[in-house]
Structures are given as structure tokens and as C-alpha cells.
Symmetry: C2
Subunit: 333 residues, 2 copies
DNA sequence: ATGAAAGCGCTAACAA
DNA sequence: TTGTTAGCGCTTTCAT
């Protein structure tokens, strides 16, 4: 049997209400009483039962986090941002992997709501109507991190993927590359669609209406980067530069090239996306789009705390700044 | 107001006890009644309150996970193993980062016990007496993952680090390297101590009693690998091979070497530890010790479920097999 | 097979 | 400043 608030009350000769007050830092307690209670707590080794507290107060001080895959460098960094801010605001985190599987996602949302989380941070690929319905009927606030809801109805934190992709492509084009390819991520995710749009817009602005023929499909993985390189080299006109929509996949492209005797950036310029730690762990170091992953997680969690506290929120769709960083996988100009 | 078990009971014209039974799959319910209840649940959109359930049953079906840093490739992989098995056994996970800070660790243990987790998976660097005391007085079982308790009192899952380090060093020595260096990890963690011991034993077995002079200190990071390389090259007798106690740090060593015009493995053989995904994302690909991170997490969680179910456990200190994989950062023999 | 009722440990009015 | 007392929503005997 664990020691309860009632045991402490008896030990300190006060009511449980008073114990509750000192445990919760309520100022309406005479210092002497407070001291007595603290001593009793110490003596008994009392530790408040958060479950009972949660039932009585209807607050669990825990938030749910649904993440595609915690073992991915990208998402792990986001998760760290989320957890740090959660800790700062005294929340704990229930973390589950969804593998971007819609059924799992929906199931997890429900499981977490069942656990009475005070809020939810959701990361995923595609927000469907079913998702929106769940979000809307949820009794607790929800924030999306690095995940876009096209309807704009769900609070979210992202960067401007379209613009970022535009700028990356533009930079490659400005290096007088006539043939700039794009290695896409999983189709049917809106972030990929946006990147694609940015790439196409840049191509078009530079007079290339044939962007479609320079697009190859990947899945963000290293291996798919290697495969993408093969495809690139099988094209009639080989590209001289390639914009890859994720760093890890970009490493695959670089190594695919090097393994085939090409050199980067001389024979092929390679540009990544995300600026994960990987970007500086490769030779040549990777030029890439800086997406502030940790911050996206942190800001999403911060946003969520505001909703949980019913604070006013000026803008519920936060767009964080991105930037381009040129390293050695592209030509120095 | 949310719909409760009581509402369902009224809607279905049964008692809450019966609703509870069907929700919990108790077989002692007439099929017709079960059906009625399910319909009522459906109609009302009832979702059981896990907090109330936890209070009444004294089980929360959630386990705490204390991890040094979820954004580390190594730990993220472990976490995935833990979470997958947790899901399989219907547990959720409360995840917190400790940064290997003892105070944080102790605080987290208490916070999680306060949340009434049914068990705890702990990952950390150094298990002190204070840790052991907390573990022992804990009302719920605890399992260590990739973390060794020298007293052997806490259930744990690891590999044999000493032996693995021995084999790695041995392999380098067998390549007729006269000078094999070692890049250590954070001092004062027992896993590092074990690796060090394995390295020294191998050196000694090959007639090198001067192992100490070939040891340089790192912190497992990429940058510390680069620095380690500098130190290696400042030695009087430069080593011709180096065993690095973590893959990421090994990449640092490789790139440090390459950036200085050395080639790997011709001028310097490099051997890593862990076999994180990074090992195949470098050129040359990294020879390394395979530590089954995902499995360690998975097995630790599985072990924990056994304790939580009060099952018999034959061996509470599990040692998983490791192996050596030779890739291109060492000489082919 | 089903129901009644007593908690689980705490918070939050409301009184005093 | 402190105490009394309902619940919070569910599980779990114990009856029936």
C-alpha cells in the first residue's frame, strides 16, 4: 500500500485539504502548518498520485505526441524540441510512432484522447478529412509540427516549403546549370507537393518548361538516393545539378555519384533539404535548405501550451524562417 | 461533458458493471446484452477514460522511458525498439530526456512513478548507488537498456562491450598494425570503461603494454572525432589504425583524416562501434561492431512486460550477441 | 448473467 | 486559515 494524502493529513494533524494545498503550492496556508505538512510528507515519503489528481482535476499534464518514426534523424530532432518545451511547461509526453499509416494515426489519436492527454502534437504526411474530423471533435487542442493541413483549420508550425524549394532550385539554376533535376519524396504528402511546386516554379521562371522530365521519385531514404542517381544517369541528357528533397537521400545521391566515378560538385551539383546533422558529416559537405527542426517542435509545443491555457493566439499557422546554406556539394560562386 | 460509462449503462438499460464487463471483454455477458451495449457505445461515441480506469485498477498501461537524448541516432533506434514492443503489449510510453544528468534522472524516475507508470525502462551512463536505491524502493519493475549496473541487481539488456572491443582491436592488430589507437567515449560511464578494458586486453595479448599512450578522449560526437584525429596525428609515432568507440565519432576521424590528405584505410584504418545507419553512409563505408540497438530496446521492453506480469524470468541480465562487420574503412584481408 | 455499492486518491467548492 | 464533503469515471467484490 502506498502512502496517500490521507496518511499525511493524519500524520500532520490537518485535513487532506490542507495537505492538498501545500502540495499544490496554494499560498493560503500558515507557514507553520506548511512546515508541519512538509515534515510529514518527508517522514512518510509521500508522493502524490498523478492519476488520482488527473481524475479529480481533469488535467493530466501530459500531452500526446504522434510521430511518424522516432528513429528518423529528422523527426527525432523535432521530438527533442517538443519534449524540451513540454518539460519547461511541466508536461510529460506520451510518444507513439505512426509510420505515417493513416489507420494507426487515427487509432493513436483516439488512444491518447482516451488517456486524457491535455493536448496533442501531431506529425504526419497527409492530413485527410478523417484527420480533420478527429481534430475538430477533439476536446483538447492539437498542434501540427512540420505537417501541413491544407485547409488551414488546424494550428501548425512549418516553414514555407514551396519558397524554400524555389530558392534552392534557383540557386542551382543561377550556376548556369541547364539541366537541374529534382528528387522528390513520397508522393501524396503535401510537403512533397509543395517542394515540387517550388522546383517547378523556379524552373519555369528560368525558361524551362520541361521540368517534369527531370523529376525522379524517392522516399527520403539513403538507398533511394543511390537509386535516384542511377535513374539520373540513365536520362538522355544527364543533369548537371540535382535538388534532393531530403538530406539523407542527398547523401545517397552523392555517394551514388562518387561510387560511379563522378565527382561532386564538379560533375554534379547536389543540394539537400533539412540541414540535418548529416549535412556536415559527408564529403563534400552538403549545401542544403536549413529547416529549423528543433524549433519547429519547440514552437509547436509552445503554441499548444497557449491553447491549453486558453491564451489568445494571434496566428495559429506559424511559418518559421528557413534559409539556404551553401557548402561544398555545390559550386562556389 | 464527456460521455461516461454511466451514460452508456442508461442508454443500454444495464448497469455500469455490465458495460464495464463488455468494454473489458469479460466473457460473462450474454451475447444479446453485449450487442446492446456495443450499440449504445457506438451511438453515444463512448470512449473509456483511462485515467479513471487507472485509478480504480491501479494499472495505467503506460511505462516510463528515460533516455539520455532522443535526438541521438543511437538512442532513437533503441527507443523505437522499446516503443514497438510496448505497443505490441498494449502499453504506451512516457518519454523523457535526461541528458545523462544524474539529478534529472533521479527527478524523472520520481515524476514517472508519480504518474503511476506500470514499469520503467532506463537508459543512462552511470548507475550510482542513488539510482540503485530508487530502483530498489520502486513499486514497479525497472529494466535497463544499453546501460550496465555493475552490481547486477537491476534487470538489463546489453551486449558484452569488453569482448566486442577486444575483437575489434584484435582485428586491427591482426592486420599487422603495430600502433593501434583507441578513441574513448565519456569517462565515468561504465560502458566506456568496458570498451577500454577490451581494447587494453587485446593490446596486451599482442604484446603491447603501452596501450595507455594510444588512448585519446572523445565524447562520441562527430566533432570530437575530428579533434581526436588531430591528436592522433600529433603523436610521436602516428598510429596506423584506430578503434573508435562510436560510429558517429568514427566518421569524424575518417573525415578528419581525409581533410588532411590521408586516405582511409590505406594510411589509417578506422573501426567504429554500434553499426548505426551512419556506417554505410560514409565513404569508405565503416567497419564496425554491430550492436543490435533496436533489439536491445525491444528485449528490454519485453523483459519489462514479463516482470509487470509477474512471470518467471530465468536470467535478468540479458547479454545479446554482437558481431564484427568489416567494410571498407579497414584493409581487406 | 447481472446489479449494487464501495472504493481508488485526489481536487474543489463551500463552510466555518 | 482550515476542514468537510462531494464527486471525478471506473473496477471489483459480493449478492442475487
Amino acid at each position: 500500500m502506498n502512502v496517500t494524502i490521507y496518511d499525511v493529513a493524519r500524520e500532520a494533524n490537518v485535513s487532506m485539504a490542507t495537505v492538498s494545498r501545500v502540495v499544490n503550492g496554494n499560498p493560503n496556508v500558515k507557514p507553520a502548518t506548511r512546515k508541519k505538512v512538509h515534515e510529514a510528507i518527508e517522514r512518510l515519503g509521500y508522493r502524490p498520485n498523478a492519476v488520482a489528481r488527473g481524475l479529480a482535476s481533469k488535467k493530466t499534464t501530459t500531452v500526446g505526441v504522434i510521430i511518424p518514426d522516432i528513429s528518423s534523424i529528422f523527426f527525432a530532432e523535432l521530438a527533442r524540441g517538443i519534449e524540451d518545451i513540454a518539460t519547461m511547461y511541466n508536461y510529460n509526453i506520451i510518444l507513439s510512432n505512426s509510420d505515417q499509416n493513416k489507420d494507426k494515426e487515427l487509432h493513436l489519436i483516439n488512444a491518447m484522447l482516451g488517456k486524457q492527454v491535455d493536448g496533442l502534437v501531431f506529425m504526419g504526411g497527409k492530413i485527410t478529412e478523417d484527420h480533420i474530423r478527429e481534430f475538430k471533435t477533439s476536446s483538447v487542442p492539437i498542434a501540427l509540427a512540420a505537417t501541413v493541413d491544407e485547409t488551414g483549420e488546424t494550428p501548425s508550425v512549418n516553414i514555407n516549403y514551396e519558397q524554400a524549394a524555389y530558392e534552392a532550385t534557383e540557386l542551382l539554376l543561377s550556376h548556369h546549370n541547364e539541366r537541374v533535376a529534382f528528387v522528390a519524396g513520397p508522393e501524396d504528402t503535401v510537403i512533397n507537393t509543395e517542394k515540387l511546386a517550388g522546383y517547378k516554379r523556379a524552373m519555369k521562371d528560368h525558361g524551362h518548361d520541361d521540368a517534369d522530365k527531370w523529376i525522379v521519385q524517392g522516399d527520403y531514404s539513403y538507398d533511394s538516393g543511390i537509386e535516384a542517381f542511377e535513374q539520373l544517369m540513365n536520362m538522355e541528357d544527364k543533369p548537371t545539378a540535382v535538388f534532393v528533397s531530403a538530406d539523407e537521400m542527398a547523401l545517397g545521391v552523392i555517394h551514388g555519384a562518387q561510387d560511379s566515378g563522378y565527382s561532386v560538385p564538379e560533375d554534379l551539383e547536389v543540394f539537400g533539404f533539412d540541414n540535418t546533422r548529416l549535412a556536415t558529416m559527408v564529403r563534400p559537405t552538403l549545401s542544403t535548405v536549413v529547416q529549423p527542426m528543433y524549433d519547429i517542435g519547440a514552437v509547436a509545443m509552445r503554441l499548444l501550451t497557449k491553447f491549453m491555457n486558453k491564451e489568445e493566439v494571434e496566428e495559429q499557422s506559424v511559418i518559421l524562417p528557413h534559409r539556404i546554406i551553401e557548402r561544398n556539394s555545390t559550386q562556389q560562386k
